[in-house]
Amino acid sequence: MPRSETFPRVQRHAQIGSKPSIDSISAIKCEFDFQLKTANTRMRAGCGLTYTCAVAAFAMWQSDVMMKLIGCRTLDSARLQRLAFVFFSILSRILAEQEVENLSGLSPNPDKDIFVVRENGTTCLMAEFAVRFLVPYDVLALNGIDLITEQASIALPRGAEIEGKCGNAEAEVQISWINDAYVFRLFFVKEVHDSSKGNDIWKISKVQLLYDTSEKTHFINAYNPGKHTASSHRLSALVTPAGQSYECQAPQTLTLISTDHQKGVTVSLSDIQIQPFDITSDFTFSPAYKCITDQREQLEELLPLILGIVLGLLIVITLSVYHLHLKMTAHQPQLPRDRSLYKNILQF
């Protein structure tokens, strides 16, 4: 069964509760390697070691089976498969030493998945996110006349097929599963405003989802089943400075208009890290550009600390001022109000 590795960028230590999928040997081997090397360091995950250990484990297997078993979302033309594996096995030795510290634990998010487009032996597009689709479709009501709108919640399964195309100014990635019953496409575009100033940005220009309502697992008793396409209209999302990857923990929602009676399909992306252009080294993200919601959350978390420190300083200043004030104004021995305090005076 095809299996994917997850390459989390999370800041937390590995959580054992999340589920690696059950591709036994590669899983075990990789986990063994995980335990040996990861410990408690926080790390930026590279693809490196996970791929390499999977590759190393199956170095002796046939190439076609290998492709599916590893489940790396890699795109290789059929003729280059062997060369790629030879390359991989060599790479695995090298990367095994170099990128040990890039490994992080399994992602706690079971929906999160990584999609990589490779061209010419190098990665040109990497996308990592968890996505959920809410697709409305029509169902015949019990009276046989009315149509009720139901909603199907679709998640990306493991082992989807990835195709993609990279370019200098445009890139796209296409993910399909269940024999092309569902196809999810992301289109990126890079805009060069003023090359001298470096104001280049890249963004998502179009999102598309093709779905087939005759597919039985998600669409139950759909009325007039057929294929439909939901596309975005004039979308400009995930705007990032060029040369950087986009990172956002908070969920982002897009609405696509479907050809099925203009229904609105909701695409909810979370835990995103995407880079469609300018990937410098294999399987590594460039420095991340955080989305505004994350920045705000960071600020929200930082603010109590700052305020707490200010409050502490305020208290210390107040106490010291009061203490000085007491010392300054307490020259004369005050006559006690209560005779029982006379003994304090008479003690000398």
Partner: protein, 532 residues
């Protein structure tokens, strides 16, 4: 001969006249002395002298006489003519009756109280009223329409009934402070709730009752303080969701605003805050009731129910009943009043006002929104009014904080920080009556402690419901009736005994039901949190 006789008669008459005028003058100046006005000598000198018995008797013979008469309970023997004879009379009175020491202690206490009056001024009945109103008209008034939603007319009746019961328990608690002396007059022998508890457990466990009441008081007061911090943080957070300031940050800001409470010295300053708090509460009431009246056409009179929702109503009982808890503050309030005999009047009027306002508010708000009434009524308001009401609520929460804080500080200082080895730590106050620096730092530490609890304890409202049903019910219903029965058993009429027993039973039931429902709520909240 006739002239001689006439002369003697006129002498006698003039002597009598002077003696009467002197006596009245002495009475007046004695009254003035008691009120704190120093007649002739300067304050410092009089203070020093006053604390010394002999000097005092020498200089103020008549006054000592008058005060000794008052203190010893009406001899009325004083009346000498003129100063010297007065002194002689007073002296002989002093020596003969042997009433020197008791009047001297009471007079000593009385005159020293005058001196202390400038550090610890007495509060008027109005100020005591503001304090009690601050305690009984709290933030929970916002949950009352929801209680009516689930309780119907029974909820309204309960509001009135709880006011009556709490007024009665407050009065019997204060009655426990007094004892009749041998002359049939009521004398204040106990000073605080702790003293009453100690007196009740006196023969076998002289300090156990005091410890129990101390712990309950401290828990209740500190939890109230923490609740105000939580509420103000929550309200500010809900009022400005667009700012990147989280609820924790708002709580810290609120605590910074509350830091000056550490400098509170006496009840008079606290009463000023309570007055402002009452004004803010009044404004909130007026705003909400005015808005509801503007929608009077849509009132749903037929929706007020006669039956109750058995699952949800017990929580409402808790909200209604425990909102009238002011008994913790009553002993110290009554002890600081200038005229303690106005206490009963003040209690009556504050409870009547609270009852009317709460009932009106709850009924009117419920009629406006009927089934859509939310747990906190401000959620039903349109957003402009809600913003204004939220701001006033925050102001009210911040202004309500000084009273429980001051009471908590007093309780802590009395139990842990006393002079002369009576308690664990030395006195917080220096010889001149000013707060020592480390006393101030302890108060600041208490403020910071309330802040930390407000930030880090989750589901605080439920926790407060839990402790409130134990300590609040105990201090408010169970203990006053118990102490009243124990201490004044011989003087109680049958209907007093009946009321006390009934209140004890009802209070026990409310406490147990509140405890069970709070535990259920807490368990559910934790399960939901863990599943999250």
């Amino acid at each position: 001969m006739a002239t001689l006789i006439r002369g003697k008669i006129s002498n006698k008459l003039s002597n009598a006249a002077t003696s009467v005028s002197n006596k009245s003058q002495a009475k007046v100046s004695g009254m003035f002395a008691k009120l704190g006005f120093q007649a002739a000598t300067d304050e410092e000198g009089l203070g020093f002298v006053a604390c010394d018995d002999l000097d005092y008797e020498y200089r103020q013979g008549m006054q000592m006489d008058i005060l000794s008469t008052d203190g010893a309970g009406g001899e009325g023997a004083g009346g000498a003519a003129g100063g010297e004879s007065g002194v002689a009379e007073g002296d002989s009175h002093y020596q003969r009756e042997g009433t020197g020491p008791p009047p001297s202690t009471s007079k000593d206490g009385g005159v020293c109280e005058e001196l202390a009056a400038k550090d610890n001024p007495k509060i008027t009945a109005w100020e005591a009223g503001w304090n009690v109103t601050n305690a009984i008209q709290g933030m929970f008034v916002l949950g009352l329409p929801y209680a009516i939603l689930h309780g119907g007319y029974l909820g309204l009746f309960l509001i009135i009934f709880a006011a009556v019961v709490c007024c009665y328990t407050g009065k019997i608690l204060i009655a426990c402070l007094y004892e009749e002396n041998e002359d049939g007059e009521l004398v204040r022998v106990r000073d605080s709730y702790v003293d009453i508890a100690n007196a009740c457990c006196a023969p076998r466990f002289p300090a156990l009752g005091g410890h129990v009441v101390n712990v309950a008081q401290i828990i209740e007061l500190v939890m109230t303080c923490i609740l105000y911090v939580v509420v103000s943080g929550n309200l500010m957070y809900n009022s400005f969701p667009s700012l990147p300031v989280s609820q924790k940050s708002w709580s810290i800001i609120a605590t910074a605003a509350l830091l000056p409470c550490a400098f509170l010295k006496n009840l008079k300053a606290v009463s000023k805050f309570s007055l402002l708090c009452t004004l803010a509460h009044f404004v909130i009431n007026v705003l909400v009731i005015a808005y509801c009246l503007s929608r009077a056409r849509d009132w749903a009179w037929d929706k007020v129910k006669f039956y109750i929702d058995v699952k949800k109503f017990p929580i409402s009982i808790g909200i209604i009943v425990f909102s009238y808890t002011s008994q913790i503050f009553l002993p110290s309030l009554e002890g600081n009043m200038q005229k303690p005999n106005e206490f009963h009047c003040m209690m009556n009027w504050t409870h009547i006002a609270a009852c009317i306002l709460k009932g009106l508010f709850a009924l009117v708000a419920y009629l406006t929104w009927a089934d859509a009434t939310k747990e906190v009524i401000t959620d039903n308001l349109p957003s402009t009014i809600r913003a204004v009401v939220n701001l006033f609520l925050v102001a009210k929460a911040l202004l309500s904080y000084p009273l429980p804080f001051f009471a908590a500080v007093e309780v802590l200082e009395k139990s842990f920080f006393q002079e002369g080895g009576r308690a664990v730590f030395p006195d917080c106050y220096g010889g001149d009556g000013r707060l020592k620096s480390w006393g101030l730092s302890l108060r600041c530490a208490l403020v910071v402690f309330t802040l930390l609890m407000a930030i880090y304890v989750p589901h605080f409202a439920l926790l407060m419901g839990l402790t409130g049903s134990l300590t609040g019910a105990g201090l408010c219903f169970l203990l006053p009736s118990l102490f009243h029965l124990k201490l004044l058993w011989r003087k109680l009429l049958w209907h007093h005994v009946f009321f006390d027993v009934a209140i004890f039973v009802i209070g026990g039931i409310c406490s147990i039901s509140g405890f069970i429902h709070s535990m259920e709520g807490l368990i559910e909240a934790y399960k939901y949190n863990i599943e999250d």
